[in-house]
Symmetry: C2
Subunit: 280 residues, 2 copies
């Protein structure tokens, strides 16, 4: 599915997404935010991990299982949250029991590392050879303090928490560590945030649109992963670093400015952005 | 995947399912039960709905989308719960946008009917033609009062809330209404419960094993759906009625007795049960 179709499709689903008084923030952020108790809000995310889309048949099962969990952990990190529990689904055909066990071992180890309970799931066969998996992950944030995509204001600085680009070739898309370590800092300092899963430019555009601002990115200030090159590194995806806005002088690479606007992203020195990023 | 393999596989996953202090009841029931607040526990379930496994390519999109949500609503009903919110995933290839819209319309309508917020999701392409969907649904039960599979005691009566059998041929597997209307009654009267998704006998065996009792079923007292015949109706699956235990004289069909034991299910008049049910 190319990016235009996915966005169109998502938009066209909106009339069919009922809400109720449990929902504090619905679709459109890294997690939904839901009522929990006086101290915490509940945050929830779900991601798929599909063989031949998000990993290859030759990817070790443990690495694939870990990636499924870590993609969702990264969404929790992107809200300033702390993960709590998750449920997992496996649809599989012609996968060996050894592979599925390794997959679950990888997913379980990643959950254990962050004290996430893997408390339920569903297993089914598929009509065709392959492996389709999902993980739904819930976490918590202090009540009313989830860092959304909507809070950026003109005059602020745009930051990234680490290098981008060359994720597939370098193995980073399997080896990355979700930035849960930054939750306390982000709850204090970030005005708007998301994680870079689909490429810095596409994710920057999402933040700009949801905040109702423009972003001016200075490409020479963007930290690059070893082997990454501009401009590809700005749109190659699966970086799993956090992109956030805040006051000047914060201890992360400053890669641009927040300007008054309506959702445009400009890269200084590039006349026109033709490809915003990578979507599955 | 046949039933033996799925059960073996599930058991072999258990070492990889970490828990934490959020989990009140983990895998092994219709929903996981999690800490929420002083008034309510949170309950969570997830199910897959896969083309050519759980519905056919010619099944209308709205009916398939409704079925995805209703299967999960039935799991909430099986705990005596009230549904609150859910997240949905779609993995699709070579499905028309019209079909996917109809699917979402069906899922959304079913959510709206029960005041369930559809608060997030994920869309991806698949490497092969098909449609793989999942729904994760959360609900609530009064704190400490979820009806588990574990509470049956010898001397109690086994009940079913409605007819079984012939679900596929009759279209019941698409048209059923999850038994959420019975939550108040079940919270008061049911000692152990699950919903019949994989056939009365297989689900009875799960209840018997988890409760550590035997069950003796009198087949002539089991209500049958039009066109259903014994013994097939006891194992054909997708009934989505509730199977529960309680004191004698409750206003539902009494189909058997709870006996001391270790998880055996006996059908009076059938020497030996060779097939317990249907698993996807």
């Amino acid at each position: 599915m190319n990016s235009v179709n996915e966005l169109e499709l998502l938009k066209s689903f909106m009339p069919f997404l009922p809400e109720n008084d449990q929902v504090l923030t619905g679709p459109g952020d890294d997690c939904a935010v839901l009522k929990w108790n006086s101290e915490f809000d509940l945050i929830v995310t779900v991601d798929q991990l599909i063989e031949d889309i998000h990993f290859l048949p030759e990817t070790p099962g443990e690495a694939a299982g870990a990636k499924l969990v870590k993609r969702n952990l990264s969404d929790i990190a992107a809200m300033g949250g702390t993960p709590l529990w998750g449920v997992l689904t496996l649809g599989a055909s012609e996968k060996s029991q050894e592979y599925l066990l390794a997959f679950m071992k990888g997913a379980g180890a990643e959950c254990a590392k962050y004290n996430v309970a893997l408390c339920g799931g569903d297993i089914s066969s598929l009509p065709q050879k392959g492996l389709v998996t999902t993980f739904t992950l819930a976490g918590r944030v202090p009540a009313g303090r989830a860092v959304l995509r909507t809070g950026a204001s003109p005059g602020e600085t745009l930051y990234v928490t680490g290098p981008v680009g060359n994720s597939f070739e370098s193995g980073h898309h399997l080896n990355f560590t979700p930035r849960l370590d930054l939750a306390e800092f982000m709850l204090k300092e970030a005005t708007a945030m998301l994680d870079i899963s689909d490429g810095l430019l596409l994710d920057a555009k999402r933040l700009a649109e949801r905040s109702g601002v423009d972003l001016l990115i200075t490409p020479e200030t963007v930290p690059l992963r070893q082997g990454a090159v501009l401009p590809d590194a700005l749109s190659s995806g699966e970086d799993y670093e956090l992109l956030f806005c805040g006051k000047g002088g914060l201890p992360f690479p400053a890669i641009g400015k927040v300007l008054p606007g309506t959702g445009k992203v400009t890269v200084a020195g590039f006349e026109e952005i033709t490809s915003y990023g990578y979507e599955h």
